[in-house]
């Protein structure tokens, strides 16, 4: 009465033996592990921040009070500091980075280009604490003695360039973040520009465009997606950067309009206060800040994606 093995099972066996199915399953498991880690992370952050979520509710996001003594915790100064410093960083690193990438990919002789690229990749590999130390010893005195007094003298009428000058503050943190995000922007933008087919350039040149016109009007728009990608990667680094920022931002949980004033970021306060946080509410408020940083990253990434979609549509509508 022994029945022959069903054909379906045999087929499965054969497919497994051929290896394709095994590879598919294994890689699927690897891919889903990313999803699992993300979901697990959010779940854990959500569960371990239940105390402040219930106590403060949405007030946590809008309160600018951070007082461990009285047990009042609010995230606003940290959200502000994180977004503000990252914005300064991108404002500096995007024009510089994309410009440098255009030079390296389009205009520079190959030998110079490869030498520069080597150094840029080296810069990307420097640990952030090293940037922090360098910032304290070189950037901070430079900002305090030259850059900030100069800005104050020339543009002091604007509120963002007013107030006392310490060398430690939003601007210095933004500049160090710009230096740290720069290699990412350059490196990936350059790759994207190199991917652009030669025909694209030749077509533009054949139509009588100058070298620069061909680069700016034919090559750069073609590599747009890759360049945006590089900016987002830089932004992600800027939002989450901890050590270098905490070493130069001044660590003051107050919202200041002035670029020269000390501030605080989410990652910096978690790193600073977590190990000595006494009491459950205090500790869980720090965890909730982690959750806020996570959500902030998602929101900013989503906005960035919307921006891409919008610009891509507009781009494709053009002839």
């Amino acid at each position: 009465m022994s029945a022959p093995p069903p054909a379906g099972a045999r087929a499965l066996f054969l497919r497994l033996r051929s290896g394709d199915e095994v590879a598919r399953l294994i890689t699927l498991a690897f891919a889903s592990s990313i999803l699992l880690v993300t979901v697990g992370l959010v779940y854990q952050l959500w569960v371990t921040s239940s105390l402040p979520r219930h106590k403060f509710g949405f007030g946590f996001l809008t309160s600018s009070m951070w007082n461990p003594v009285t047990g009042q915790f609010g995230a606003l100064p940290f959200i502000y500091g994180t977004v503000f410093t990252s914005a300064i960083a991108l404002l500096i690193s995007v024009p510089l980075g994309v410009g440098a990438a255009i030079f390296l990919a389009e205009l520079a002789p190959p030998r110079i280009s490869s030498t520069f690229t080597f150094f840029i990749e080296l810069l990307a590999a420097v640990p952030s604490v090293i940037f922090g130390v360098l910032a304290i010893f070189t950037l901070v005195p430079l900002m305090r003695d030259y850059v900030e007094p100069f800005l104050k003298k020339t543009l002091g009428g604007l509120p963002i360039f007013s107030g006392p000058v310490f060398g430690f503050g939003y601007l210095t943190a933004g500049v160090i973040l710009a230096i740290m995000t720069l290699p990412f922007v350059i490196s990936i933008s350059r790759e994207a520009l190199l991917e652009v087919p030669t025909e694209q350039r030749e077509a533009a040149l054949a139509l009588g465009a100058t070298r620069w016109e061909s680069t700016w009007q034919a090559v750069v728009p073609y590599a747009r997606l890759g360049i945006f990608g590089s900016i987002f990667l830089g932004l992600a680094r800027a939002l989450g950067e901890t050590m270098a920022v905490t070493m130069v931002i001044g660590n003051d949980p107050t919202i200041h309009a002035s670029l020269f004033a000390p501030g605080y970021t989410i990652a910096a306060i978690i790193a600073n206060e977590f190990s000595e946080a006494t009491g459950d509410l205090y500790l869980q408020s720090l965890v909730e800040l982690g959750l806020v940083l996570f959500l902030l990253t998602i929101v900013i990434n989503a906005l960035a994606r919307l921006l891409i979609i919008a610009t891509t549509r507009r781009g494709s509508a053009q002839p």
């Binding site: 461990p68 305090r144 310490f166 910096a268 206060e273 946080a277 500790l283």
Partner: protein, 339 residues
């Protein structure tokens, strides 16, 4: 056959290793970073005294030490500040506090053109950190420092940004000497600072002060001793200006010993003695009052006795102030409470 004998041999070797490991009493501890250098030295030296005991210490910070200790993931904890009643309430049997060594906190500053050592009154220090004394030539400062030409520049106030026992002791002191500080700010490992820049660790605060003209900060005595930095003297509760050193810090504990509660949970800032430096603190080991494992209990009790006697001799060389005799005597009595 060959293969199986190899596995048998490997298993045998593993079993012997396990037995050797079993013979040693492994004790895990975690907590404060401030006393880590001396604890490391102690545990290393103690392993020679009692070869059966091995103590692993992780310097994860006082808050983490209290947390791990109350969760029971370590055999004992360590903290720069005593546990609160609320924290103790979570234990079935009350944990014991054993002061180990003392530390002091000193004001350090950077005023271009001023080479003399500055004297600080408690009012001046509180005023500066409250943001009320804004300039170096404030009368509160010039009054205490006759003969020093203090400039009219703005004071750059620097404090710790990381939660730390150092900040706890400093703010505890300010709360004692300034009612305004007590009501507005209070004492904690991290507080809502009314003014100033923050940086991580003693090295961070000292770094900003060194680099920024007209800055003032507070750092641990051990840090300025090791780095040979200049620091100011402070007026103590008896009205004497004192510059911190190991003797004056030990004296703070000695002068507070008479009124010390039996569980040692006490702040010794602003101590009454004439020779007592006002910003001093104990650092504690947190020991459970009931230890089930007899091997561990014996090792911990032996260690505590050794720490209070021979161990104290290592303190001064590493920059820690040793415990005064009165406190050692009281602690010896407390060891008997461990069941």
């Amino acid at each position: 056959m060959k293969k199986s004998s190899f596995w048998l041999g490997a298993f045998g070797a593993f079993a012997i290793l396990l037995m050797v490991a079993q013979a040693k009493v492994l004790i895990n501890a975690a907590g404060a970073t401030f006393p880590y250098p001396i604890y490391g030295k102690w545990f290393e030296e103690f392993a020679k005294v009692d070869p059966d005991a091995q103590i692993n210490y992780q310097s994860i910070g006082s808050g983490g030490g209290i947390r791990q200790f109350s969760e029971g993931t370590v055999d004992f904890g360590a903290s720069d500040m005593p546990m609160t009643d609320e924290q103790i309430g979570k234990f079935k049997s009350k944990p014991l506090h054993f002061p180990t060594v003392l530390g002091g906190i000193v004001p350090t500053y950077n005023i271009p053109g001023v080479t003399q050592e500055l004297k600080f009154t408690p009012e001046a220090l509180a005023g500066i950190y409250l943001g009320k004394i804004k300039k170096w030539n404030d009368p509160e400062l010039t009054k205490a420092n006759p003969g020093v030409k203090l400039p009219g520049n703005e004071i750059v106030v620097v404090h710790r940004s990381d939660g730390s026992g150092t900040s706890f002791v400093f703010t505890d002191y300010l709360s004692k000497v300034s009612p305004e500080w007590k009501s507005k700010v209070g004492a904690s490992t991290s507080v809502s600072w009314p003014t100033g820049l923050g940086d991580k660790g003693n090295e961070g605060v000292a770094g900003i002060v060194k680099q920024t003209p007209y800055a003032i900060g507070y750092v641990e005595l051990i840090y300025v001793l090791q780095n040979k930095m200049a620091y100011g003297s402070l007026r103590n509760a008896a009205g004497v200006f004192l510059k911190a050193d190991l003797e004056s810090v030990t004296e703070a504990a000695a002068s507070a010993a008479k009124s010390m509660p039996t569980d040692f949970r006490v702040s010794i800032t602003n101590a009454p003695g004439k020779k007592a430096y006002p910003i001093a603190t104990f650092t504690y080991l947190l020991i459970p009052s009931k230890i089930e494992d007899q091997g561990k209990k014996k090792a911990i009790v032996t260690f505590l006795h050794w720490m209070l006697t021979d161990g104290q001799k290592y303190a001064a060389a590493l920059g820690y102030a040793p415990l005064p005799k009165d406190v050692v005597g009281k602690e010896e009595k407390q060891i008997a409470l461990i069941q």
